[in-house]
Subunit: 114 residues, 4 copies
């Protein structure tokens, strides 16, 4: 789980050229990938529980845990998005800033309602 190779960080620096990079980005990205891998493992574990006819309530506990893990990922992504993309756009102002805010609000609405 902590086997993120140094090569990954290097690769990420490369991506920074795409315009999404930022000082704190690498750390956030590694943390997100770790969480996502854990969530993927949780979902796989739930499938195994269903296959093994594990008691429903115990499976439901795991589904709630996986849902929470995804929510945490979403909130981290959103915070990063507000701190970087939205903050940069609003610093410039104009229609791009408005568009970014609209987009962020729509994403928040989807999260709150999901």
């Amino acid at each position: 789980m902590s086997a993120a190779p140094p090569a990954d960080a290097a690769e990420n620096t490369g991506h920074a050229a795409h315009g999404h990079g930022s000082p704190g980005y690498v750390d956030v990205k590694d943390a997100l990938l770790k969480r996502l891998r854990r969530a993927e493992g949780q979902v796989r574990g739930i499938a195994r529980m269903v296959e093994d006819d594990v008691y429903c309530i115990d499976i439901l506990t795991q589904v709630s845990a996986a849902t929470k893990a995804l929510e945490t990922v979403a909130l981290a992504l959103l915070d990063d998005h507000l701190s970087h993309c939205v903050a940069e756009a609003t610093a410039e102002g104009g229609p791009v800033a408005e568009e970014k805010i609209r987009e962020a609000s729509a994403a928040i609405a989807r999260l709150v309602r999901s």
Copy 2:
């Protein structure tokens, strides 16, 4: 429900001096107040249903409706907050902008988890 007196709009313009006002603010405020009054009526209606021993499932339908109404209010407030307070702060940058983003992210997390 539509009894919002014209004086209200005037009063609101006064508040603009406090730093929360903005061109589109009056409309948002009226819409929010209408929604909140409807939500208040829904909650009062739910209490009446409980008093009258209405069938549980019918009460639950109303509780879901009231919860959704509050969520809509929250999303409208958040959108307004990002468009005004956060956008203004990030346009200036610095620690105030960071604080505003942190605050907004925490509010979003509370909403997603509630």
Copy 3:
């Protein structure tokens, strides 16, 4: 919180004649009504905050609290419903029991998605 007057209990016993009464019901009903009145007050308080141009984030905190209060009401109603209506129907079995389960599942889905 335990100040439920005896008169109230007597009135509720009258409602039991409507067919929804059950040994534990009186206590649940009083607790639900108290919660609903508090939730109604919270929603009214939120409207006042909007009128007074209170800072968005502080309003959002109250909206999250009111939403949670309604969720607690919904979960109490659902628990009561499963313990009484559904349990009685399934004890008898047949199509009514199936209908009650379907209804309860639909109500749970609305709650989870709201």
Copy 4:
């Protein structure tokens, strides 16, 4: 979706000896496993998007979709649980029935709050 191979049904009948089997269970199980595999693929896809520095908002859309998929799994499990385990226990009545209801209510609360 109805392509459940006979071999699978036979295997499941074996599991029925564990006490979780029931007439409708095979179909539900296959549908659940399909959904869970799709959800697992969605989570893996999200990790890939993060690795590739895909735009935050697009990743968030996928996170919402995966969360909804897990919610659907949870609601199907819960419906199955109420229809079988809870219905059987309440048909017998007594403390086991009460325990099953309590357990189901707690699971519903975790879902609603997650």
